[in-house]
């Protein structure tokens, strides 16, 4: 690793009520790379992802340190909204708001009080281009976002996240509700985006992890088992449990 990590997780444990879901995870996510979090359902990978922009606030108790630019984001004086503006999130299912495509993209900016029309126009075009949606929707910016197909909606959600210019984008199984064609398009988009953004993606699809990610972390029962460059981890896993999971053996 030549660059300093984008965000660092140090001895993090998460519990719902008093039931632990993630325990003692330490991990440094490399900047401007795609990191995939894999593991069986309930392994705690989604929970960890949601901790990275404090989406677990009020839902679970998080201990340990999550450091972003030297700041522990769970510190009491930290403003959660500013963290989330720097670390965006895209969810399993497309979540377009019941508005036009244009309004969806600039939603975050509008709320921040940006009024400059030309800046907004420019952001819409940029973000949609980055999300590889511009060509398909440039003539229907005023149309309702809910008329788009599932794949288009998900790319719109990515564009919406991009429009606020975050540093890190968290994706929680972004293609699990999509068909293979749309999945391909999203993957291509993500590969393009890593030039400018740090991307952390939770996926159940191991091919997807191996196709697009630079780094992969394997989780089992709330613990980080192995973290390595994707090629290494998939071809030559150091841990037996990783190897078992990758080859479809459990227990």
């Amino acid at each position: 690793m030549t660059q300093s990590p984008a965000i660092t997780v140090n001895q993090v444990a998460v519990a719902y009520d008093s039931k632990p879901v993630v325990s003692d995870v330490s991990l440094a996510f490399p900047a401007k790379q795609i990191t995939a979090l894999i593991g069986a359902s309930g392994s705690g990978k989604s929970t960890l992802l949601r901790c990275l922009n404090r989406m677990n606030d009020g839902v679970a108790t998080v201990s340990g340190e999550i450091t972003f630019h030297g700041v522990n984001i769970n510190a009491p004086q930290v403003n959660v909204y500013r963290v989330r503006q720097q670390i965006g999130m895209v969810f399993q299912q497309p979540t377009p708001f019941p508005l036009s495509i244009y309004e969806n993209v600039i939603y975050g900016l509008r709320l921040r009080g940006v009024k400059d029309r030309s800046l907004l126009d420019q952001r819409v075009e940029e973000s949609l281009k980055q999300a590889a949606l511009w060509e398909e929707v440039k003539d229907l910016l005023k149309a309702s976002a809910q008329a788009l197909s599932g794949g288009q909606q998900q790319r719109l959600c990515i564009a919406r996240t991009l429009a606020t210019r975050p540093e890190i984008i968290l994706l929680d199984e972004p293609t699990s509700a999509l068909d293979p064609l749309s999945t391909n398009q999203i993957e291509a988009t993500l590969s393009q985006l890593k030039k400018d953004y740090t991307i952390i993606i939770v996926t159940h699809n191991m091919q997807q992890a191996s196709r697009i990610s630079d780094w992969t972390a394997y989780f089992e029962q709330g613990k980080l088992v192995e973290f390595n460059q994707t090629a290494q981890l998939f071809i030559n896993p150091k841990e037996e449990r990783t190897a078992n999971y990758l080859s479809g053996k459990f227990g």
């Binding site: 972003f68 030297g70 930290v78 909204y81 963290v83």
Partner: protein, 298 residues
């Protein structure tokens, strides 16, 4: 480093907006809580006067069967029994029909049916209780007279009018409860080869049970508190009922009839407030019981 820690900490328009929102919703809740608690406190205070002044005893009030406040007889048992019975009867009559309408609109009939139903239900809710009472007097009382003999005034007629009054509210809430059942569940059940009835019976109804119980509670609560309409058809005589056709009086009807004719802070008036307190306590117990039942099974 310094730069970043500045960028991520301290208040922002967002955090101010959030604090503002929390504050305003909490304020609303405090206002409501204050209102509710002051009413409850008010009733506790007024309702216990009869016993505190020594004019009546609690046991004589709850178990006595002679209600004649003008002559220091404060036995509220006949009204308690009547209120409970009439409410239960109305609820039990209304529930199947309300549920049937709700099932028909959400599970069987095409979606358009709801459009006609909803305004209809809302209309029925808005008809003043006096009008329900008049309808009861001109239609239900003669009907009961033919059916059971006697005067036609009595428990059954009272329950009938209440049934008419609570059915719309219950239907509307039952529809909401059924609509809250996710469609995936229905599809999953149908996908397993279940018939519509099996899906309703094994998936939809169990899932919506909490909501249906709430509909029942709200419907019966309204029946419990209704006065003007019942008073016109139940015979309004404070005696222990001995059959479906016998005249009786509910807590609310006695309360409403007597309130305007008694002087405040006299035992007669205090006894009426005690009736109101009983009403409050009974519906409290009733709510609590329903909650426990739905929690145990759900």
């Amino acid at each position: 480093m310094k730069n970043w820690s500045n960028r991520l900490t301290g208040p922002s328009p967002e955090s101010r907006c959030e604090a503002h929102g929390r504050w305003i919703t909490r304020l609303a809740l405090v206002v409501i809580a204050a209102l509710v608690l002051s009413i409850i406190g008010f009733l506790l205070c007024r309702g216990s006067r009869l016993f505190l002044t020594g004019e009546g005893t609690l046991s004589a009030f709850l178990l006595g069967t002679n209600w004649d406040p003008g002559h220091q007889a404060f036995g509220a048992a006949p009204m308690i029994v009547t209120s409970l019975f009439v409410t239960l009867l109305a609820g039990l009559l209304a529930l199947p029909l309300a549920l049937a309408v709700a099932l028909a609109t959400t599970e069987i009939l095409p979606r358009g049916a709801k459009r006609f139903l909803q305004p209809g239900i809302e209309l029925l809710v808005g008809i003043p209780s006096v009008v329900y009472g008049l309808v009861g007097l001109t239609i239900l009382v003669p009907l009961t007279r033919k059916l059971l003999g006697g005067t036609g005034f009595g428990l059954l007629t009272g329950a009938g009018v209440l049934f008419l009054m609570v059915m719309p509210t219950m239907t509307s809430m039952a529809i909401d409860a059924l609509e809250a059942v996710p469609n995936q569940l229905r599809r999953a059940s149908a996908g397993l080869g279940a018939t519509r009835w099996q899906t309703i019976h094994r998936v939809v109804l169990p899932t919506a049970r909490g909501g249906i119980l709430t509909a029942l509670i709200f419907g019966m609560a309204r029946a419990f508190g209704e006065a003007l309409a019942v008073q016109m058809v139940i015979g309004n005589a404070a005696v222990m009922p001995h059959g479906l056709g016998s005249s009786a009086a509910t807590l609310t009807s006695v309360l409403t009839t007597g309130m305007g004719n008694t002087i405040m802070n006299t035992p007669e008036n205090d006894a009426l407030w005690s009736l109101a307190l009983v009403l409050l306590l009974m519906s409290f117990l009733f709510n609590l019981a329903t909650r426990l039942v739905s929690r145990k099974k759900g």
